[in-house]
């Protein structure tokens, strides 16, 4: 069922949502846009392409208090920060919504991550489809699509002076009840088709004949900052840490990344591994390992292209996929079985 909402009534609707909900939306700062709770509708950047950081930080904040107020009486409480109000995440792109589907696979496995579940259940996703493909975008290559409504509650597609509205879930229905949209006989544009997903790397684990490629073409260049993981909508690794604060102990968790040299020291998995192994692990985990382990049917890369833009030394995942595919052909492995 299609309906249409004008830009003016969209703003009015968002205004009414602001009363009872926290509205998280793209807002401009320092020449970029970021998802953040907005206080008034004027703060929302409606003409954004995509935000500098992914919206995962709303569900999985960069730092959060996990638990452990050990007060004077020796009692310990598990204390995930509960949301004050229900939330609406406006302006999420289909690629980032797919990113949430990826983190869901990790954080919702029983027993689940209490604070993630809380935030996920109480947030309604209002997506906005992409009309244009930017140079860094490759969602179609990762099994998603610029106007896929699969992972959002409501999807808006810009059309003239308004948006076509697709309500996908019950949550979306409840939210859009008072939106003031009209029936429309216009059809939603067909979903942009996806290309077959890439395969990567050659061998699951252990020494592999493509190691020279990782060592010499990729690892040499990498400066091991955390940008790619921190801008990524799907990276979910974290570190926990206890701090003492005003006589109490607090357990925190913060984002962490496999590219940080400290990570290997702690995780042990790749301790003392050469840089190439670390690099290969990142791409290996994103592409074949994630669907293999969690049966997701999609890779832990959504093709949003943030890492492509932000990487200081241009480590481009698309180029790596192409190179490995070429390498595959060169060692005579024609077609690997599709996952």
């Amino acid at each position: 069922m299609t309906s249409f909402i004008t830009k003016t009534s969209l703003k009015t609707w968002l205004g009414t949502l602001l009363k009872d909900n926290t509205l998280v939306a793209p807002a401009a700062a320092a020449g970029l846009t970021f998802f953040r709770p907005v206080e008034k509708i004027e703060d929302i950047a409606f003409d954004f392409t995509n935000t500098a950081l992914s919206p995962k930080s709303w569900f999985f904040p960069q730092t959060e208090t996990l638990s452990g107020e050990i007060a004077g009486n020796g009692h310990k409480t598990l204390n995930p920060e509960a949301l004050e109000k229900n939330a609406v995440l406006f302006g999420i792109r289909p690629c980032d919504a797919r990113g949430l589907a990826v983190t869901d696979k990790v954080f919702l496995i029983t027993p689940g991550d209490t604070s993630y579940i809380e935030r996920r259940q109480r947030t309604t996703l209002v997506g906005v489809a992409c009309l244009e493909e930017r140079a860094e975008c490759f969602c179609t290559r990762m099994g998603s699509s610029p106007n896929s409504p699969a992972d959002v509650d409501i999807l808006l597609t810009e059309d003239g002076d308004g948006y076509l509205v697709q309500v996908m879930t019950k949550k979306g229905q409840t939210l859009s009840a008072g939106a003031g949209q009209q029936q429309s006989d216009k059809a939603v544009p067909p979903i942009v088709p996806t290309k077959p997903p890439a395969r990567l790397p050659l061998k699951s684990a252990g020494p592999s004949p493509d190691m020279d490629y990782w060592d010499q073409s990729i690892a040499d260049r990498c400066i091991h900052c955390n940008i790619c993981a921190f801008v990524c909508p799907t990276c979910y690794c974290f570190d926990t840490f206890d701090i003492e604060k005003e006589g109490k102990v607090e357990r925190l968790r913060s984002w962490y990344t496999c590219q940080s040299p400290n990570f290997e020291r702690i995780e042990g998995y790749m301790a003392d591994a050469p840089k190439g192994v670390r690099m290969r692990h990142r791409f290996y985990h994103k592409l074949p390992l994630f669907p293999e382990q969690l049966g997701s049917g999609y890779a832990a890369c959504t093709g949003c292209g943030r890492c492509v833009v932000s990487c200081p030394v241009n480590i481009d995942i698309r180029e790596i996929m192409d190179d490995v595919e070429k390498f595959r052909a060169s060692v005579g492995e024609e077609k690997a079985p599709q996952a």
Partner: protein, 287 residues
């Protein structure tokens, strides 16, 4: 003109690798957007054809010398990158005989990010004190003696703000920080095996990404580069959330220049200003 530099770089790389003067040649190649550039490591003479040099070659390649301490390595260096090598030599982090510097008389680089080459010159180029590298083994271009005076207009504008405004300005900037530490990892001056921010004991700045911790991280990072920052704009360029880090670094550069008449990266024999002192200076502490 850029093409001439590209050809000269390729030719030199080929020569050095063929004659086994060096084992690795670090230069630039075109990035995947075909507009900007990225670092390239060349190990075989036939790969030298991929090298380029143009005004999008913004990276400071001297950082990579720290990973190639045991390999004889040639590196393409703009004046600011060469200053970084001088600082590394000052601090005994690289051996002069292990590196071969291809100096470039630099016309300046543009402010570019992946996907857009840009036309505006980068911050560092606006107050660039020199266009000829202070140290090189092979120079591409005609050396010039001109040394421009840095006007520090950006820093002065900050200094003219009120204290409260400045505090609010930095609070606003630092609250965006995501602590990816790209500013540190890209910096040739940041080579500590364990950075203060990764220490858990003592805990200088916690892992919490919050105003106080971000304030500690950004300020101490800048202060650790006091008298060592060679103004290559690397930290500000890589920042994914556009924090104007060079305003911090350049303030300290200005103070050091005024107090000790010292500009880092000019003299391979010099000592960092905080690693030395004169008995008669800075007469009385401020009242």
């Amino acid at each position: 003109m850029d093409d001439k530099i590209t050809l000269a770089v390729r030719e030199k790389a080929k020569e050095l690798l063929e004659q086994k003067v060096v084992d690795c040649f670090i230069g630039y190649e075109k990035a995947t957007d075909n507009l900007t550039s990225r670092p390239l490591f060349v190990y075989k003479p036939e790969q030298a054809e991929r090298l380029v040099f143009d005004n999008t070659c913004v990276h400071n390649l001297s950082k990579y010398l720290l990973n190639k301490k045991d390999t004889k390595t040639a590196v393409v260096a703009k004046p600011c990158d060469a200053r970084a090598i001088v600082v590394l030599l000052n601090e005994n982090q690289v051996q002069r005989e292990k590196i071969y510097i291809i100096g470039i008389v630099c016309p300046g680089v543009v402010d570019s990010r992946w996907g857009s080459a840009g036309t505006e010159p980068e911050v560092r180029c606006q107050g660039c004190p020199q266009h000829t590298p202070p140290l090189y083994d092979f120079l591409i271009g005609e050396p010039t003696d001109e040394v421009e005076q840095d006007a520090y207009t950006d820093v002065t504008a900050m200094e003219e703000m009120g204290d409260a405004d400045r505090e609010a300005f930095w609070k606003e900037q630092f609250q965006r920080c995501i602590r990816c530490y790209a500013c540190r990892n890209v910096c040739p001056g940041c080579y500590c095996p364990v950075c203060f921010v990764d220490l858990k004991e003592p805990l200088w700045a916690g892992i919490r990404v919050a105003p106080g911790e971000n304030w500690m991280w950004n300020n101490i990072r800048a202060f650790h580069l006091l008298g060592r920052c060679i103004d290559c704009n690397g930290c500000q360029r890589v920042c994914p959330v556009n924090i104007p880090l060079m305003l911090l670094n350049r303030k300290l550069k200005k103070e050091v220049a005024q107090a000790f008449a010292f500009i880092p990266g000019m003299d391979p024999k010099a000592l960092a200003p905080l690693a030395t002192f004169k008995k008669e200076e800075l007469a009385e502490p401020s009242k």
